[in-house]
Amino acid sequence: MANLKHPLWQNLFRPQGDRITEVTAMWMDTPLFENISRHKCRELVKNMHPRQYKKDEKIFNSGDIGTSVVLIRQGEVEIRAGEKLLAELRQGDFFGEVALIIDEPRTADAVAAEDAELIFFLRSDLEEWVQRSPRDGAQFMLNMSKVLAARLRHTNILMSLQAN
């Protein structure tokens, strides 16, 4: 999801500290963790998987089996459909969230536009968390449906603009 805030301001107001605190703060800034406590989010972040990518390295291809939503901790990522650039994402943005819900192949390519550190939140960790904390899990799912509905609405507007 494109982040409208300027990265400089994000960095200034983001709590400083260790990696987990920083990644927790980044997730808390996303709509996925709205109305979920920082403490709960932090517990989840401890089990997330940070990975390093070089410039131009493929993160995933369209058709790959996906199982996680990805947060950009550092660097930039391009989302492409073939040669067409769909989105340029920066620090604090996330992508690939559909794979958290359904066991279907990825629908676009993701490429590191520069050296990047990405945080992977796996579906298996989400499922475990939902079982452990059903109330927070339900809130997360509600947030997720809002994000997906916003995406759908955005796509519909784009399609009707193209049709006109």
Binding site: R51, Y53, N61, G63, D64, I65, G66, P105, F120, S124
Partner: protein, 355 residues
């Protein structure tokens, strides 16, 4: 031609699958003496890990929750042993005393049958020629069993020491070690690796939990059934039936042997007792197939019955009883790994993605 063969997803999946199986086999050979305690510890981990996670959520540290679960396990095992062991020992010694009588009854029964055949059809069978080698062999087996028994006692003691230690460390550290290992995968295989791991772990966890519950229910039903019909050693026979039930299809047939022999050895011979012993096992199987399997282990393993039977025979031939018990989880794990590898490789080669 060769290039297309090498780059075909099936070839690549088979190569990777072969590599993974080779590594696992190598590790299994290397850890052969410790394999049984490791397998039992993993089975206990699958059952106890949710309890440890629950304690952690209540605020206990990882070490404290693992230790609490381990202490509970040891206490439970000690309680079960102290309650069951005296009964089991008494039933085992009664069984030992009864076995010669069982053999005698069987030989007498066979002799009477041969006399009947000789009188009614003139067919003269020398039954003793058939039975004597069996009796001699049974004597030999009895002597061997004494030596094997003492070896078994040593193995059991080692098992009792190693299993709690392994289980404790698995509950405490398995997740960290697993994360560290899977995070070492290259970026392009990272998600696929996690998908394969979770599919295998889910299936194995469901299977282990299911089969443990199933064996427990079978033991209770069979024990109750044998107790009701008045067959000797009902607890021992129930436990044996529960353990043999770990082997699909073949286990229930094996479970019938000992009770039927005991019923045959009952003096005086009562044929209704033989029928009742078979009836108890069949009724337990009916309960198992109609009630337990659909609700407890349905969907845990999705294999064709022919593959299951062939697998059990091959694994049993290679690794004995343990091989027969492990055949299903090993084959279903291999099945998941191969399918996921093939799917993962196909999606990276769009030319083959629909093939």
């Amino acid at each position: 031609m060769l290039q297309s063969f090498i780059s075909h997803p099936l070839t690549r999946a088979l190569f990777l699958f072969g590599l993974i199986i080779s590594i696992i086999s190598f590790l299994a050979i290397l850890l052969a003496p410790l394999l049984l305690p490791i397998i039992i510890s993993f089975a206990l981990y699958a059952v106890l890990e949710p309890l440890s996670s629950m304690l952690e959520r209540q605020g206990l540290s990882k070490s404290a929750s693992s230790l609490t679960v381990l202490l509970l396990l040891v206490l439970l095992a000690a309680l079960v042993m102290s309650l069951l062991l005296p009964h089991l020992a008494a039933q085992l010694s009664a069984l030992q005393k009864q076995l010669p009588a069982v053999w005698n009854t069987l030989v007498n029964f066979a002799n009477e049958f041969s006399h009947y055949l000789a009188h009614s059809s003139g067919l003269n069978l020398k039954i003793s020629a058939f039975t004597q080698p069996f009796i001699d062999q049974a004597d030999e087996l009895g002597k061997k069993a004494l030596i094997e028994g003492s070896n078994l006692l040593i193995s059991f003691t080692i098992l009792m020491i190693l299993v709690p230690i392994f289980t404790f460390f698995l509950i405490r550290d398995f997740r960290t070690i697993r994360n560290q290992l899977l995070d070492k995968l290259p970026n392009n295989s990272f998600e696929l690796g996690w998908i394969i791991y979770h599919r295998v772990a889910h299936q194995l966890q469901d299977y282990i939990r299911g089969i443990m519950i199933q064996s427990g229910i079978m033991s209770i039903v069979v024990t109750a059934g044998f107790y009701i019909i008045g067959l000797e050693s009902p607890i021992l026979l129930g436990l044996v039936a529960g353990i043999l039930n770990l082997i699909p299809y073949v286990g229930p047939l094996l479970a019938m042997v000992l009770p039927v022999l005991l019923a045959l050895g009952h003096a005086p011979l009562e044929l209704w007792m033989v029928g009742a012993a078979v009836g108890v096992i069949l009724a337990a199987q009916l309960i198992d197939n109609v009630l337990v399997i659909p609700s407890v282990i349905a969907h845990a393993v999705n294999l064709h019955p022919v593959i299951v039977i062939i697998g059990i025979i091959i694994f049993g031939n290679l690794f004995g009883f343990i091989g027969m018990v492990l055949a299903i989880p090993v084959i279903s794990t291999a099945n998941i790994i191969f399918k996921a590898l093939l799917q993962g490789i196909k999606t990276r080669q769009p030319a083959y993605s629909d093939s």
